[in-house]
Symmetry: C2
């Protein structure tokens, strides 16, 4: 049983789960203290427990970090070597313990996908781990478990969810089915996040956010589309590998800058921005003097939404400078899941640095 | 290897598949001549071949009827008794041969669901068969295989697809994610069916229709929603059980009458009809003097679309009278997958007869 910083002890979930496990006659070994931006050191610690105790399965109780780390633990428990090997080379994952999750936050969708992200502070790397062996066997999603998620994490979770769907919206070949699903998911985030913030125990808002976020990374949202490489996530992972900022906040800062950069570099992608304005933000063409004005209003609506959530206006507000930007761009090129040549608008290293600088 | 009336021999697919199977060293037994509205007699014949020859798997090459019959064959091959037993009581399906499909038409979505519909001419019954054991293991979808689908079947296929999505759109509790996906699928049918009719080898149109139709019955389109019982399909199955009409055509005739009946019986469901008008047909509230006028324009747009495809204006054009309507309504109550008490607007037997009479 894996969990994070102890919120599940404060809200009673820990006691509830332990009672159920005891009643079922399970022998439980615990790994607590899994960090936000979970670290490979925690993964190695979890794998060690699994190996030494002959653990049969892993139950992750928590949010994206706990679930991501637990996936890596499931794989590392069946591997003879350090967990980081598996992050660097997914083909080395030949077996994994079965994973069960009790998800406590609407955010990453890790409860319904086969990947996670692990950070190595020794090498300043934050990289994905993924394998079809790492799909959770069963995930429990109870919206009422998310009532106690604090405002800042509710916000970061919604920003993460929105980014997952934007990553598969801004692709070269977007299928109309995927487009309909994504636009619905973005509207859910925009509509229900403020409601959940104002009224944290609003079941409908929590349920809508939890369900939409769960579909963010399991492949539903890019059904029929081609070309998704999650570029915003790639860039943000570099930033938080160096600075340990909150993933969802980094994404919210980077997203508008990235979208504006693409449109500037290749104006032929404008139609997708029209869809953003009209289908996600409900703006109407006839209210704007030109298509360019409509697009600008859509991007402004997105920026205003992030600002309304209290997202910092730039990375510099989080103490980040341009010191490592070139190294970050270089690192993406060699380590990310896909080449930026296949991005919505192809990006060079210099382009990545430009987006980072504009995000300061 | 199962197939239908021989179109796969005319278009070369039969030779292609046989050559591949031979090259792979497979011993192939064939069941040809599977009917539209496939009959339990074909299922029994197929199961007999499987049992006598020790068949390892079934490969369905064709459309919905071939795939539906093949699912029943897979189940009946592992059952000691007549296949109709399994249609009447799905819990008797304890095992099934693995099913593979090569789908040749955008229509039923049978290539990606766990159910089929079988007709028994002795009892004048057309009933579903379904089991989690009946999901196809692999389905091949190549849009170019649908180039040779004749116009009338292209139309019927699109009407079937549209109905699948309407069945999960007009439900009491529609999730916003499902709504976005369904509205996109309906727009695809409305946009691309005319293109495929005018230009049968238009890859984009055939691909969009094939992909959307494949998602019609696999559960994606009712993710997060509750209450879908496919009432239009229930009624149409009764009609085609008596008269052997084309399923998709029957659905297209019944759909507008059913939608109008619901709104008339319970005006509180009007908001979903506003969504139909605005989100599927792109109509705008400000162009209509009232919400009622907007709704009427949406329903008219749907009727006009069906008429533009050449759908007959009523069941009477197909030689159908009201002779068996009462028996059909009675039969639905005892045999359908869900009670009409849980319909979008609950329906009595008399209501079903009313809709049928208005569809004449």
């Amino acid at each position: 049983m894996t969990y994070g910083g102890g919120s599940i002890k404060r809200n009673g979930l820990y006691d509830l789960v332990k009672a159920e496990l005891n009643a079922a006659g399970c022998t439980v070994f615990e790994l607590s203290g899994i960090e936000p931006n979970p670290r490979v050191t925690s993964v190695d610690a979890g794998a060690k427990i699994c190996k030494e105790q002959g653990v049969d399965l892993v139950l992750a109780v928590g949010g994206g970090s706990t679930m991501d780390a637990s996936k890596a633990i499931c794989a590392a428990a069946c591997y003879d070597g350090p967990a980081w090997d598996l992050v660097l080379d997914h083909s080395k994952i030949k077996a994994a313990l079965p994973l069960f999750t009790i998800n406590t936050i609407a955010a990453t969708g890790s409860e319904y996908d086969s990947a996670g992200v692990i950070t190595n502070w020794d090498t300043k790397e934050k990289l994905p781990i993924g394998s079809s062996l790492l799909w959770p066997v069963v995930s429990f999603l109870d919206p009422s478990l998310t009532y106690t998620v604090p405002a800042n994490q509710t916000i970061a979770g919604s920003c993460d969810m929105m980014s997952h769907f934007f990553e598969v919206y801004f692709v070269r070949d977007l299928s109309p089915i995927a487009q309909g699903l994504i636009e619905a998911a973005e509207r859910i985030a925009i509509t229900y996040t403020p409601i959940a913030l104002k009224d944290p125990k609003n079941y409908e808002a929590r349920a809508k956010l939890l369900w939409a976020s769960t579909l963010g990374c399991n492949g539903f949202a890019n059904l029929g589309s081609t070309g998704s490489i999650f570029p915003c996530h790639a860039i943000e992972h570099e930033v938080s590998a160096y600075y340990d900022i909150t993933h969802g906040i980094g994404l919210a800062i980077l997203t508008p800058r990235l979208l504006r950069f693409w449109l500037e570099k290749d104006p032929s992608v404008a139609p997708r921005y029209v869809d953003l304005a009209t289908n996600i933000f409900g703006l109407r063409r006839e209210n704007y003097e030109s298509e360019a004005a409509l697009i600008e209003a859509g991007l402004k609506a997105l920026e205003d939404f992030y600002a309304s959530l209290g997202i910092p206006s730039g990375l510099s507000k989080l103490g980040i400078t341009n010191e490592h930007f070139a190294a970050m761009a270089e690192h993406i090129k060699t380590h990310w899941i896909g080449s930026f040549d296949y991005c919505f608008v192809p990006m060079t290293n210099e382009d990545i640095v430009t987006v980072l600088e504009r995000s300061l």
